[in-house]
């Protein structure tokens, strides 16, 4: 087998078959299984959660993860925050001609590893190869199915959110963005910050299984906490007040944000969940989250209030107030 991806690997012929067998089936599947056009699944659930996401990132390997880990965790998390238990994933690859087979192997193995952690099966997939320069190394799409043990539809719609509910996050914000930025080598800085990329299914199920009154959940990805909270304020037509000093941000992340003119509230995360919880249960939820290694720095960071509906307002460290808007375009470093 050659050591780089060639257009032959996408031809559908021998090379394609070899690639599927030697790399994908080896990591994801059952070597004895007959390759068919569809996966046939057993799903015992009246309702299912169904989601899809595509992953592009530069660089494809970064401290704390890689594009494959991201592709599994991203879709697992989208299912998990709906209250579903993730069961099956599909994985489709667009590969650039000339891409190293060894890199592909690393990515696929990383996906298999995460799938095992998340207890999901990767049951179908596809590969296309495009001419050099037509994509950046590798793009991955994953689609996922999850089942419900309870009717948690309200967690997605936010319909039960009410005044007095507490806002909880499971740890420090912005680690993923800064880790990736550092790995890009464009900025002459080195950091030991790792991406927080992780599957949150277990952490979330810990809370749901304990019968906690969770009213709303979202994973805090692109656009950051600020964007998710603005979406929520809009949906529920209530105000949101954040206590900025309680929002966990690593000192090193904060420092780089100061230098680059970024606001950590707008940075992307890949292993963070926002929970809106009934105030009676809030402290218990934080305790449950803290018992999981992905929730050690969980905190209550604010409240749902009646003031300023549809608006997110931060109480600043010094006791002032500021409006926290939705992200407008990509955050650009400010120099002047």
């Amino acid at each position: 087998m050659s050591d780089i991806i060639t257009l032959n690997h996408g031809s559908g012929g021998r090379s394609s078959q070899d690639l599927i067998k030697d790399i994908f089936i080896k990591s994801f599947g059952d070597p004895q299984a007959v390759l068919s056009d569809s996966a046939i699944l057993n799903v015992n659930s009246e309702k299912i959660a169904f989601t899809t996401d595509s992953f592009v990132i530069d660089p494809i390997f970064f401290p704390g993860g890689d594009i494959g880990k991201l592709a599994v965790c991203g879709t697992v998390n989208d299912l998990s925050v709906s209250g579903a238990i993730p069961k099956y994933l599909t994985a489709s690859f667009i590969l650039e001609e000339g891409f190293l087979i060894n890199d592909l192997k690393r990515i696929v193995e990383s996906m298999a590893h995460q799938a095992k952690i998340a207890n999901v099966k990767i049951v179908a997939g596809d590969t296309k190869v495009v001419h050099k320069g037509k994509c950046d190394k590798v793009f991955i799409n994953t689609t996922g199915i999850g089942i419900f043990e309870n009717d948690y539809k309200y967690i997605s719609t936010g319909e039960k959110v009410e005044i007095g509910d507490k806002i909880i996050v499971n740890g420090t914000l912005g680690d993923h963005s800064i880790a990736v930025l550092g790995a890009r080598n464009e900025l002459n800085f080195k950091t030991d910050i790792q991406s927080d990329c992780a599957c949150l299914h277990e952490l979330i199920q810990d809370v749901l299984k304990a019968g906690m009154k969770v009213k709303f959940m979202r994973d805090i990805t692109r656009g950051g906490l600020a964007t998710v909270l603005n979406e929520l304020a809009e949906i529920v037509n209530l105000g949101i007040e954040l206590i900025e000093k309680d929002i966990p941000v690593k000192e090193s992340v904060n420092g780089l944000c100061e230098i680059l003119g970024f606001d950590p509230l707008y940075l992307a995360n890949e292993g963070k969940v926002l929970m809106i919880v009934h105030s009676d249960d809030a402290n218990t939820v934080v305790d449950i989250l803290k018992n999981n290694h992905l929730g050690k720095e969980s905190r209550i960071i604010g409240d749902i209030i009646s003031d300023h509906p549809k608006m997110v307002v931060g109480k600043t460290e010094i006791g002032g107030k500021r409006i926290i808007n939705m992200l407008q375009g990509e955050q650009l470093p400010r120099i002047c």
């Binding site: 464009e186 900025l187 002459n188 000093k245 000192e251 904060n254 420092g255 100061e258 680059l260 300023h308 608006m311 307002v313 600043t316 460290e317 010094i318 006791g319 002032g320 107030k321 500021r322 409006i323 808007n325 407008q328 375009g329 650009l332 470093p333 400010r334 120099i335 002047c336």
Partner: protein, 361 residues
């Protein structure tokens, strides 16, 4: 964290706020002339902590806002040349020119790269000998020395494919222009970063000639609150002078070495300030010795810049005479997504800040 959390201590801020409330009857307007201060004021919600009698007004301190439309048009024209790579700080990327923005041109395929320092731009020049690398020089005395160093290095190393398109400006002339205008300014919150380079001495003429106080200020909430207190105190006691609150970074004489490099490379010229107009000797241009690195000299850029919308009152807003609410375009035609005037262009601009906070402050 060293030098951040110490200056965000809410107890100290509270004390300063309480202290400031004794000046409630003063009825004064203090102008900050640095975009960094405008950002900090909103980021920390400082207006909430001031008595009603102390008003903060934002001056022309955001270099992105005051850069002329013509400058952006020229940068775009340069980006359309085949072998040109435009290098720029991220700040400029979304600023609209007459027809387009660098961001839009980048999407269409122009080679426009965001850099974090001028030396990075120089590095791109070294590794792309067959291309011409233009760096867009914006900013006041803070960023001008960095541009000067890049030009000086290019000269020393005989790099022939590096050019500077300068929109660099300096602070004192615009402050004087505002004082000669009918703007009500009772004190200047002077820029911290500019002053690390220039020293506080550049403001000496302001209390001497105009009897207006100046306090060089840092960017943390305690810095800002303390400076406001110092200015109020000067006004209360009629003892207007130049003071340095930001003494951990700024000296009276500034950074002599940086000043020398700036003077070696740049000379003054009349410059156009978006929203304000032409101000004598307020811009920086490469000196004769470095002419070959001047993009305006090296490239024949002829752009036709459309006049700005006559209904836009940014000039009066930048001078503190009007507020965004007085403008007929504000929040109708002119929004952060479709900015018409200078003050809406950058997130540091008064209109953009006002737009964001209008329902609240």
């Amino acid at each position: 964290m060293k030098f951040i959390n110490e200056y965000r201590d809410s107890e100290i801020v509270k004390k300063l706020s309480k202290k400031l409330h004794r000046y409630n009857d003063l009825n004064i307007s203090l102008m900050e002339v640095c975009g960094g201060h405008t950002m900090a004021i909103h980021r920390f919600g400082i207006p909430f902590l001031l008595p009603k009698g102390i008003k903060l007004i934002s001056g022309p301190g955001c270099p992105v806002c005051v850069s002329s439309v013509n400058f952006i048009d020229k940068a775009i024209a340069l980006s359309e040349i085949d072998d040109v790579i435009i290098t720029t700080y991220g700040d400029l990327i979304r600023v609209p020119g007459s027809q387009s923005s660098l961001e839009k041109e980048k999407s269409k395929g122009a080679d426009i790269r965001i850099v974090y320092s001028t030396l990075e731009a120089l590095k791109i020049a070294r590794s792309n000998q067959d291309k011409k690398i233009v760096f867009l020089g914006i900013g006041f005395e803070t960023t001008a020395p960095a541009s000067a160093v890049a030009v000086q290095n290019a000269y020393k190393e005989n790099i022939t494919n590096f050019y500077l398109l300068s929109a660099h400006k300096i602070m004192p002339p615009v402050m004087e222009a505002l004082l000669n205008d009918d703007v009500k300014i009772d004190g200047f919150i002077c820029p911290g970063h500019v002053s690390t380079i220039t020293g506080s001495k550049i403001y000496d003429f302001i209390p001497e000639k105009y009897k207006i106080g100046c306090v060089v200020t840092g960017f943390e909430p305690i810095d800002m609150m303390q400076s406001i207190d110092m200015l109020a105190n000067q006004i209360f006691n009629s003892s207007q002078k130049v003071e340095i609150q930001y003494s951990r970074a700024v000296k009276r004489d500034g950074n002599i070495k940086a000043q020398a490099i700036m003077n070696e490379v740049f000379g003054n010229r009349n410059d156009f300030w978006r929203g304000i107009g032409e101000i004598p000797d307020s811009g920086l241009k490469l000196k004769e010795k470095y002419k070959d690195f001047d993009a305006e000299f090296a490239f024949n850029i002829d752009v036709e810049t459309k006049p700005e919308n006559p209904a836009c009152i940014c000039g009066n807003i930048l001078r503190g005479l009007k507020t965004p609410k007085d403008c007929s375009l504000f929040n109708k035609v002119c929004t952060p997504i479709n900015p018409i005037g200078a003050c809406m262009v950058s997130s540091e601009g008064s209109c953009a800040a006002y737009y964001k906070y209008q329902n609240y402050e």
